[in-house]
């Protein structure tokens, strides 16, 4: 579960500001965060969408690392698209810039020009960053669970309809295909 073991004074302060405390998320939802929930992406293409989503990530990981994170994602796209079809993309990578696996959720109602396998525009993006040393071995299984989730059309439809983070968390625990 991606909770920090050692709480620095800075993060303790920001955690205290976010009252009341919600119960810890479990399962797939444990890798998400309300600050990484972007249900209304403004971007029209892949590069813009990555920027918009990495900006959210950098609020936690540090603004100075934005370009490094972006290039890490673009390297993967150079070797083949992470747009897996049916309006879904799961860009991913392992990096020293994060201590825990984190997923940014981005949704575009109009669709993003992504260069997906089926050439269709992308509406749902799950951007996954995992630690370089994946000691808990959660990287591949998490990607697998996300793929399973979006394989079922009712789940994709639900993800297009949800409005709040709580509804999103509920959608993540839906049965898979």
């Amino acid at each position: 579960m991606p909770t920090t073991k050692k709480t620095s004074s800075k993060s303790a302060k920001s955690a205290a500001a976010k009252a009341p405390a919600k119960p810890a998320l479990t399962g797939l939802a444990a890798y998400f965060d309300e600050a990484l929930f972007l249900p209304e992406l403004k971007s029209k293409n892949k590069a813009e969408a990555f920027e918009e989503m990495v900006d959210a990530l950098c609020a936690t990981l540090g603004k100075q690392h934005k370009q490094t994170l972006l290039s890490m994602l673009h390297h993967r796209e150079m070797l083949g698209t992470t747009g897996i079809g049916r309006g879904v993309a799961i860009p991913h990578g392992r990096t020293l810039l994060t201590r825990h696996l984190r997923v940014v959720f981005g949704r575009s109602n109009t669709g993003i020009d992504y260069g997906a396998r089926d050439s269709e525009p992308v509406n749902l993006i799950f951007l996954v960053v995992a630690p370089f040393q994946d000691r808990g071995n959660v990287y591949l299984p998490t990607l697998g669970k996300l793929v399973e989730l979006v394989r079922a059309k009712p789940n994709r439809d639900k993800l297009m309809e949800i409005e709040t983070f709580d509804q999103f968390v509920e959608a993540l625990s839906a049965p898979t295909a």
Partner: protein
């Protein structure tokens, strides 16, 4: 301004992607999930790596290369003041330096390049 440590990290990211591409098991696992691999595009990434490597001091790049060949990963995280490559202590002042100024520091015990992970 881009720090040398960030360029080194980008090189490590590229090396990681190339090693994924060279690992048939990895490629198969990711293909099964629906991700695409186009090995014919590897040259683009190699060229990008060369461009980035040219921006690094030759001696430091050789050090990176040597570490990569010896240990797999040249840059390792610091956790709780410890180098996660060899589990030896790192001077506290260095940790601050790496964290705040992205200074390039190598572990006094194993020589790996240290990175502070947020």
């Amino acid at each position: 301004m881009e720090a040398t440590l960030q360029i080194l990290l980008e090189i490590q990211h590229i090396d990681q992607r190339l090693s994924e591409l060279d690992n048939p098991e990895h490629v198969l696992q990711f293909e099964k999930l629906g991700f695409q691999w186009q090995p014919e595009h590897r040259q683009q990434l190699i060229e990008l790596r060369a461009k980035r490597a040219a921006q690094i001091d030759a001696e430091l790049l050789a050090h990176y290369q040597g570490l990569k060949e010896r240990y797999g990963a040249a840059i390792v995280p610091i956790d709780g003041g410890i180098c996660l490559g060899c589990f030896m202590m790192i001077p506290t002042a260095w940790v601050q330096d790496i964290r705040q100024s992205l200074s390039v520091k190598t572990c006094g015990h194993c020589g790996r390049i240290l990175f502070w992970v947020g």
